[in-house]
């Protein structure tokens, strides 16, 4: 039981120390929505030509990172969690790019 109480205390303490508040979560949500709106707007900006690809890639990377850092708490949590996730993510990206390279540029 003591452990239980401790855990509850700990969880309560998180809110005050470092962990984001509902307000932060709301601001993040607003930023995410805004970026999505910008993405869709850019999509219709045909004059950008090929420029659309890097711009959209950067914007969705920002969204991705914000969800991972704030909503999934990676920014506040143990580094080991980030390593496990980013390791798999980086490998997945490498495999995707390697396969695109092998099929599109070296044929």
């Amino acid at each position: 039981m003591a452990q239980r109480a401790q855990a509850a205390q700990h969880a309560a303490a998180e809110v005050h120390t470092g962990h984001p508040t509902p307000k932060t979560y709301f601001i993040v949500a607003m930023i995410l929505s805004a970026i999505t709106a910008v993405e869709v707007a850019i999509f219709y900006a045909t004059w950008l030509g090929y420029g659309i690809i890097p711009v959209l890639a950067v914007l969705s990377t920002v969204k991705f990172a914000m969800v991972a850092m704030f909503y999934m708490h990676l920014r506040y949590d143990n580094r080991l969690f980030s390593s496990l996730f980013v390791g798999g993510l980086a490998l997945a990206f490498s495999v995707v790019f390697a396969l695109i390279g092998l099929f599109r540029f070296f044929v």
């Binding site: 452990q3 239980r4 109480a5 401790q6 855990a7 509850a8 969880a11 309560a12 998180e14 809110v15 508040t21 509902p22 979560y25 709301f26 993040v28 949500a29 995410l32 929505s33 999505t36 993405e39 869709v40 999509f43 030509g49 090929y50 659309i52 690809i53 959209l56 890639a57 914007l59 969705s60 969204k63 991705f64 969800v67 991972a68 704030f70 909503y71 999934m72 143990n78 080991l80 969690f81 496990l84 996730f85 980013v86 390791g87 798999g88 993510l89 490998l91 997945a92 990206f93 495999v95 995707v96 396969l99 695109i100 099929f103 599109r104």
Partner: protein, 207 residues
């Protein structure tokens, strides 16, 4: 056989080497692994992009405004998920129920959008058998949809379990934390799919 105390085995984070709970470590390792799963599906989609020998093609079927709405719904469900967790850690079980139910509803809304989208595409002549685009598109987004479905079942289970006394409590917030991590992951996979499949898909210069 040894008798046991009531402390659930996997939750006693204080007793582990790293100080992290077993289940949370497992969840993150799983998410790292799931990146490879979606990575392989996305790689297949991209390798075959523009290789279909017959239509319909992305620009014939996609409706960016509609998908933007469902994307927005899924993004907002992530916010409500984190609100549910936050409410629970503050001991606000009512808030938790409201937020987790709205998360599940938004998840189901997303799935409804996807179902109607799939039905539309089929009516326009695009099935998984039609061409390479159909094959890769339905498989990739279908598996994402399956992930969302599983997440909705998980969230609803937590919602109903919270009515049982001591079922969902601040001390056991880890149960909700794990579901939340899974849910956010499904959301960020969609962020990638929305950009790579939908936005790049209709862009004429890229195939």
């Amino acid at each position: 056989m040894a008798q046991a105390p009531a402390v659930p085995h996997g939750d006693a984070a204080d007793e582990t080497t790293t100080g992290l709970s077993h289940r949370k470590l497992l969840m993150w390792a799983f998410l790292g692994s799931d990146c490879m799963f979606f990575g392989s599906l996305i790689a297949t989609y991209l390798v075959y992009k523009g290789k279909s020998i017959s239509g319909p093609l992305p620009e014939d079927v996609f409706s960016i405004p509609v998908t933007s709405v469902s994307t927005f719904v899924l993004l907002m469900s992530s916010m409500s998920m984190v609100m549910a967790y936050s409410a629970l850690t503050r001991g606000n079980i009512k808030g938790f129920r409201i937020w987790i139910m709205s998360t599940a509803i938004m998840g189901m809304t997303f799935l409804a959008f996807q179902t109607f989208e799939f039905r539309d595409f089929v009516q326009e002549g695009l099935t998984p058998r039609t061409n390479l685009f159909g094959t890769t598109f339905f498989t990739l987004t279908g598996f994402h949809g399956a992930h969302v479905t599983l997440g909705v079942i998980w969230l609803l289970s937590l919602f109903f379990y919270s009515f049982k006394r001591g079922g969902v409590t601040a001390e056991r917030s880890l149960d909700v934390d794990l579901a939340a991590l899974y849910w956010h992951f499904v959301d960020i996979v969609w962020i990638v799919i929305f950009t790579v499949v939908y936005l790049f898909g209709v862009f004429e210069g890229f195939n």
